[in-house]
Every structure is written in structure tokens, then in C-alpha cells.
């Protein structure tokens, strides 16, 4: 099992301490770790288990239950395509299929160069601008299939700049 660096151990310990007085600290802890590192591998879950007394299997269950948490490192840009009812009706499936085709990855996967992760989301509450795509927090309204290539290129350029 890959060992965590001392820095990581210290930081995760600090995150666990931060929430130790909460009634149900696990979600807060995992949320902070996800935000800090972008993913929550098993070694980290073992450490959280040690600090909270919650079993690794239970933590693993929570991590795999919520799509917000990730077991694998995510790409630099996380493309979230909303597939909620309104977006779906407005053609979101075609949009995510186009992303999938152009990036050669399935939803949930990350490109080999580590640049993009493609996620399918369930209703992000932006039904008025369906179909919506959210990339690292920036929301693209009423995305048409024809725009997808352009959007990807803009991030490739940003990454190369």
C-alpha cells in the first residue's frame, strides 16, 4: 500500500480534528479532503477511520455513494454535464456524448493527459438555462452540440498558456 507523505498525514489529521466536535463529522471531513486533494484514496480513508472510529468500509460506502466524492485523482478541468430532467429534455445527452467522443473518455473517466474529467451530474438547479454544463464552477448555459469542440479548445489553450 502506497504510504502517505508526512505532510498529507498532518493535513488530514488537522482536517479530522477540525470537525471532531460535529455530531456527524464524516461528511464535513470527506468534503474538505475532496476539496483539498481532489480525491479520497483508500490510504486516506484508513487514516480518517483511525481518527473517527468509523470503519473503512463505511467510509468507503459514503465515498462511493455520493458522486461528489472521488476515489481517483480528477483532471485539471472537471466538466460536469447536467443530465437532470430539464437538461435531458433539452438534449443534454447529445452534449455529453459529444464531450465523450471528442475527449475519448466515458463519463466518470479522466483523459490520459490528466487535463479533463467528464462527469454526468443530476440536476444542478440551473433548469432555466438547460442544457447546462459546469466546468470548474463556471456554468455554460444552453450548450449546443456544435459549441463543445470550441469549449474544449478554450481550456486546452488556457492549459498551454
Amino acid at each position: 500500500m502506497a504510504k502517505l507523505s508526512e505532510n498529507a498525514v498532518a493535513q488530514i489529521t488537522e482536517i479530522c480534528q477540525r470537525h471532531k466536535d460535529e455530531k456527524t463529522p464524516l461528511m464535513m471531513i470527506l468534503s474538505d479532503i475532496q476539496n483539498e486533494y481532489g480525491y479520497i484514496p483508500l490510504e486516506v480513508q484508513e487514516l480518517v477511520s483511525k481518527h473517527t472510529g468509523i470503519s473503512v468500509a463505511e467510509i468507503y460506502g459514503v465515498v462511493t455513494f455520493y458522486s461528489f466524492f472521488s476515489l481517483e485523482p480528477k483532471g485539471k478541468y472537471v466538466i460536469g454535464c447536467c443530465l437532470g430532467t430539464a437538461c435531458y429534455v433539452k438534449g443534454a445527452q447529445n452534449v455529453i456524448d459529444k464531450f465523450s467522443e471528442l475527449l475519448s473518455i466515458k463519463p466518470g473517466q479522466t483523459t490520459a493527459d490528466g487535463l479533463f474529467t467528464l462527469d454526468a451530474l443530476r440536476c444542478i438547479g440551473a433548469c432555466g438555462i438547460a442544457p447546462a454544463v459546469s466546468i470548474n464552477g463556471k456554468v455554460y448555459p444552453k450548450v449546443a452540440v456544435g459549441q463543445v469542440s470550441e469549449i474544449i479548445d478554450s481550456y486546452r489553450q488556457e492549459a498551454n498558456a
Binding site: 500500500m1 483508500l42 480513508q45 473503512v56 468500509a57 463505511e58 468507503y60 462511493t64
Partner: protein
């Protein structure tokens, strides 16, 4: 006690407030079919929806296993709406079940099949896709097959309650949910101690022991000298598989049945238990007198040894170096017995019948080989022995009571018998240690302060010739952890600790017959609370019946030391009867 008035099917009853509808109905003479509810709320997810009933004051149907009774509540169990809903619940469970019931080892003891029968579930009522199957047979002790899992969560709760471990959990969500160790690992690649408590509570065949019956068949077919030996706790529970009331000792019939299965010899592991006491008692005296590592902790339970190696690698020198009784006896069979009977040890095949699934792992440990040979070649559970007896067409209740084979290792004492219950190894050891220190037999023979039949910690101070020996007993890793943390912190006041993996000890082992209320109509309503005590009593009563009750008085043990081993803890004894331990990583690297 506050009471409430309820009606079931229009008839008035008074029941305790706070009961669930399921519990209240049971007291009034109704058994509502249920699956996920287990053992007074030990597991109560309300997830399977098999126990739906109508109740006034509730919207729609309610899950009776979690819904409490209230004053004036009117309950309908047999209304068309309720019976249809319960049937649909079972049919929906079956629609995602692999349905190989004929080949399933749980056949005859499956609770899903039981409720399907009771609710009148129809074949193929709902058809749809099946969720992906995850199958794990890498671990020597346990097999997991998610195609038979109904996601009730009993196994998850048992692992937490018994051990504070929580090896199993729900993974993923919705239709993709399955129960597994983290990362969908094998039990073999997680810190699972393979105790089998999860198997004991699984309502279906999703969690089972890893059967080794076929290995025995192969050995018999190959013409090997197959010798079988049965552990103390097996006799206290085997009868349950053949309709005897819980707590009926069936030693004589068990010996007779095993003899009829074609084994060359049938022995009682009680001899090995007596041998263990000679070795372990001597080791304890040595540690007490020579400033050795204290407290010394027993090492008979492989579930406990697994737990220690995964979680307390720094305390392993506290464990007695003694092998467990059946391993000791296996080593003697393959050395002294083989020599006496002029059989090549390589042609001897030793079968242990154990109340335990972890023993299946234990027998494969490298540290237990002698000159490249395993002490024991196959371990079957009490349940597997019952399966073999049924397969052979033996009518168990018509068997005569027979003795074990008497040559070389036929004698045993009451001290060996009580190994099967929590506190038993401690008591057996004290009987012999008392003699060794004082030169007198203890009077009375029994050390009742160390007795019990459940999880939790017991302690006692025994005065031996003016020396006080502080002892503690724990079963279930949740209790053991308390004692181990004390040792780690340097605050332990004990010299000798007995730890057993399963709550209550081997009588409640993961290989023992299932205790399920729905299949035990002859037993009292409180059987889930009393079965361990009843099984324990079966062992204590056999102890009382023995003429010899202290291991050091077993004539064949004395003989074995005189003719072969020399004395306890001798060089020869160490070679054959002692072992070592090594810290292990719980979540090891998986290739």
C-alpha cells in the same frame, strides 16, 4: 411497565409500550414474515419491506419491524393489501436473485426461501435486469456471493457489534449497491479476521463458509489414512442440525456418525486441549517465575490471533506461543501416532471438525507446518459435518452412543471440554497451574468466577499459595480491545488473559448451526438471548460427568510426555506444539 391497547385483526390486546408492531404481534401469537430485522433490533434497517402491515394512524403500509405500537392502534396483518404487498416485496427481492436454490448450501435453512413460501411468492412475477455479481472465494474461511445478497445489512451490524470492526459495508448506490469489504476487496485482502459471525446472521447463501468437504472426499478416494477430530464446542450444537433442542450434548452420536463416514480414527480434540493446558500452563508458570512477558494471552482462537496480527502487532509477544489444540493434536497424529502405527505421515490426512471458519485459515498458516507438512489438512464446520452426515443417509437420532477411538489420544478430561466456552481455557489452565504451584488439586475444582457465556469482560483474582494471580477474560474483539489498550498503555493489572474471537467463545463460533427464530418453533421466545447459555451448559455438564477434570491427570497425556515429548515446553514439544506470529498489514497491496 407502561402498556398500550391495540387491536390485531379486530381482537384487543394489551402490550408493552415501545415495542415494534413485529415484536408486539409475536407476543399476541402472530409471526409476521420478516427478513432484515434480526435479534431484537441488532439489525433493523426496515429495508426489505417483507414485514409490511396495515396500521391505523399511518399513511399507507408500515414496516412492522421498525414501527412502534401506539395506544388504540388497529393492525391488520391478513388484509389483502398487506398480504399482497408482502408478497410483492419478496417477489421483487427474488427478481434480482440468482435462484440456484437447488445447488445452494443454504438450501433448507434459507430465510428468503422461507418467506417466499409463507408469502406465496409467484415465479417470475417481476422480471428485469440483474445487478452485477461479485464473487469472492479467495479467503480460506469465507465465501461472498452478492448474487444471493438481499442487502439487509445484518452482516455489517454483526461485525460492528461483535468486534467493532465493520469489515463489510454498502458500496455504491441504488441498483448498483452491494455489500463488501472496502474497495470490493476479498476478505483475504482486508483486515477481516474470518470469524464467520457474518455467516451466522446472513439470511441467504450470500455469505458462507468456504467448504472443504470435497478435499475430504478426494483424500478418502485416494486411499489416504484419514483421521478426524472434533472440537469441544461441536458436541454442544451439532444436535440442533438434527432437531434436538438447543443445548443437547450429542458427543456419543457424533463419534458414532463420524466413524460411519469412513474415517480411520475418530478422536476428540479435548485430548489436544489437555495437551494445550500442559504446554500453556507451563509457559505461564515460566513467565510468572522468570519475569517473562506478562500478561500472557491465550492463542487458541485464530480469529483473535488474526485480530492481534492486524491491529496489535506491537503486543504479539504477549501471546502464548502454543498452537491451538487441534493443530497440536494434528502434529502429534502426524508424528507420534504415525510412528506408532507405522504409517508414512505424508499419507495421513487430518480432518478437524470445528465450530469455526477462521480455523480454515489457521490450518494454512506457514508458521504451523512441521517439516513441510500441515498439521491439519482440512477443516470443516459443525454445519459441514451435519451436511456430510445427511449426505451419507445416516439417521442421527437412531445412532447408538459410541466412544471415540481410545488408542494414544482417546482419554480426555473435563478441563478439555470447557475450552469451547468463554472462560473455559482460563479455568482449565487454573486447575493445572494451581496443582503445579501447590502440589495439591484445587478444591473445589471449579473456578466459577471466570465463567460466562456472552461477550464482555470478566475478571477474577485467584489466590494460589499466597500468590495472587489476576486474570481477565474477553470474547469478541470489541471487549478484547479494552484489555489490549490497557496493555499498550502500561496500565494492565493482569498476569493472564483469555481472549476468544467470537462473543461467548466457540459455542457461538462462526461455523455453528444457525440460530433463527423462524426455524425454531420448539424453542422459547427468548432463544436469541439464551442459546449461548444453553450450549455452554451442555459443556459444563459434560465436564461435571468426567471422572478426570484436570488436564495433568489425563493418563494418555502423561504417557505421551513419558514416551515421546519428554516434558512440557521441551525441545521436542516446541518443535511440534508451538508457533510464532507476525504483524500484518490489513489492507495489503492487491496485484
Amino acid at each position: 411497565m407502561a402498556m398500550v391497547n391495540i387491536k390485531i385483526e379486530g381482537i384487543s390486546y394489551q402490550v408493552e409500550a415501545g415495542l415494534t408492531i413485529l415484536e408486539a404481534a409475536k407476543k399476541c401469537g402472530y409471526e409476521i414474515p420478516s427478513l432484515c430485522a434480526f435479534n431484537h433490533g441488532e439489525c433493523n434497517q426496515g429495508s426489505c419491506r417483507v414485514c409490511l402491515v396495515e396500521a391505523t394512524g399511518a399513511r399507507g403500509l408500515v414496516a412492522s419491524c421498525v414501527y412502534p405500537v401506539a395506544e388504540g392502534m388497529e393492525i391488520k396483518i391478513s388484509s389483502p393489501a398487506a398480504t399482497t404487498a408482502r408478497r410483492h416485496s419478496v417477489e421483487l427481492l427474488l427478481s434480482n436473485h440468482n435462484m440456484n436454490c437447488q445447488q445452494c448450501d443454504k438450501n433448507g435453512q434459507c430465510e428468503l426461501l422461507h418467506v417466499a413460501n409463507i408469502t406465496g411468492a409467484r415465479e417470475g412475477a417481476f422480471q428485469g435486469v440483474h445487478s452485477e455479481t461479485h464473487y469472492d472465494e479467495l479467503a480460506p474461511g469465507l465465501v461472498r456471493d452478492t448474487s444471493k445478497c438481499i442487502l439487509c445489512g445484518r452482516c455489517i451490524e454483526r461485525c460492528k457489534n461483535a468486534h467493532g470492526l465493520g469489515i463489510l459495508g454498502f458500496e455504491n448506490r441504488g441498483f448498483n449497491t452491494f455489500v463488501s469489504p472496502a474497495e470490493n476487496r476479498s476478505f483475504a485482502d482486508s483486515p477481516c479476521i474470518q470469524c464467520g459471525q457474518c455467516v451466522n446472521v446472513c439470511p441467504t447463501g450470500a455469505l458462507m463458509e468456504h467448504s472443504e468437504i470435497s478435499k475430504i472426499d478426494a483424500a478418502l478416494a485416494a486411499g489416504k489414512t484419514v483421521i478426524a477430530q472434533a472440537a469441544p464446542a461441536v458436541r454442544a450444537a451439532l444436535g440442533e442440525e438434527f432437531g434436538y433442542p438447543i443445548g443437547t450434548p450429542v458427543t456419543g452420536k457424533m463419534a458414532a456418525a463420524m466413524r460411519r463416514l469412513g474415517f480411520t480414527r475418530v478422536y476428540d480434540v479435548n485430548f489436544g486441549a489437555d495437551l494445550t493446558i500442559m504446554e500453556e500452563g507451563t509457559e505461564l508458570l515460566g513467565r510468572l517465575q522468570n519475569g517473562g512477558k506478562l500478561p500472557m494471552i491465550t492463542s487458541c482462537s485464530p480469529g483473535w490471533v488474526n485480530y492481534a496480527e492486524y491491529n496489535y502487532g506491537d503486543l504479539l509477544d504477549h501471546l502464548s506461543s502454543c498452537k491451538s489444540p487441534h493443530q497440536m493434536q494434528g502434529a502429534i497424529i502426524k508424528s507420534y501416532w504415525a510412528e506408532q502405527n507405522q504409517v508414512d505421515p505424508k499419507d495421513v490426512f487430518v480432518v478437524s471438525v470445528m465450530p469455526c471458519t477462521a480455523k480454515k485459515y489457521e490450518r494454512q498458516r506457514d508458521q504451523l507446518k512441521v517439516e513441510g507438512l500441515d498439521d491439519v489438512d482440512a477443516v470443516i464446520t459443525t454445519r459441514e459435518l451435519a451436511r456430510m452426515i445427511k449426505r451419507a443417509g445416516i439417521l442421527f437420532d437412531r445412532l447408538p452412543d459410541e466412544d471415540w477411538d481410545q488408542d494414544i489420544m482417546g482419554d480426555y478430561t473435563g478441563a478439555g471440554v470447557i475450552f469451547g466456552v468463554t472462560g473455559g481455557v482460563m479455568e482449565a489452565a487454573l486447575r493445572t497451574v494451581y496443582f503445579k504451584l501447590t502440589g495439591k488439586e484445587s478444591e473445589p475444582i471449579e473456578f466459577t468466577a471466570v465463567r460466562g457465556h456472552d461477550a464482555g469482560i470478566r475478571e477474577a483474582s485467584i489466590d494460589i499459595n499466597g500468590t495472587t494471580v489476576n486474570v481477565a477474560i474477553a470474547s469478541g474483539m470489541k471487549s478484547a480491545k479494552v484489555l489490549l489498550d490497557e496493555i499498550r498503555e502500561g496500565t494492565s493489572k493482569y498476569q493472564f488473559i483469555e481472549i476468544m474471537g467470537c462473543p461467548g467463545g466457540c459455542i457461538n463460533g462462526g461455523g455453528q448451526p444457525y440460530v433463527r427464530e423462524c426455524f425454531l418453533h420448539g424453542e422459547s421466545d427468548d432463544i436469541m438471548d439464551t442459546y449461548k447459555e444453553k450450549r455452554a451448559q451442555a459443556l459444563y455438564s459434560e465436564d461435571e460427568r468426567q471422572a478426570l477434570r484436570q488436564s495433568h491427570n489425563n493418563p494418555q497425556i502423561i504417557d505421551l510426555y513419558e514416551k515421546y515429548l519428554g516434558e512440557p515446553n521441551s525441545h521436542k514439544a516446541h518443535e511440534l506444539l508451538h508457533t510464532s506470529y507476525a504483524a500484518r498489514e490489513g489492507f495489503n497491496e492487491v496485484k
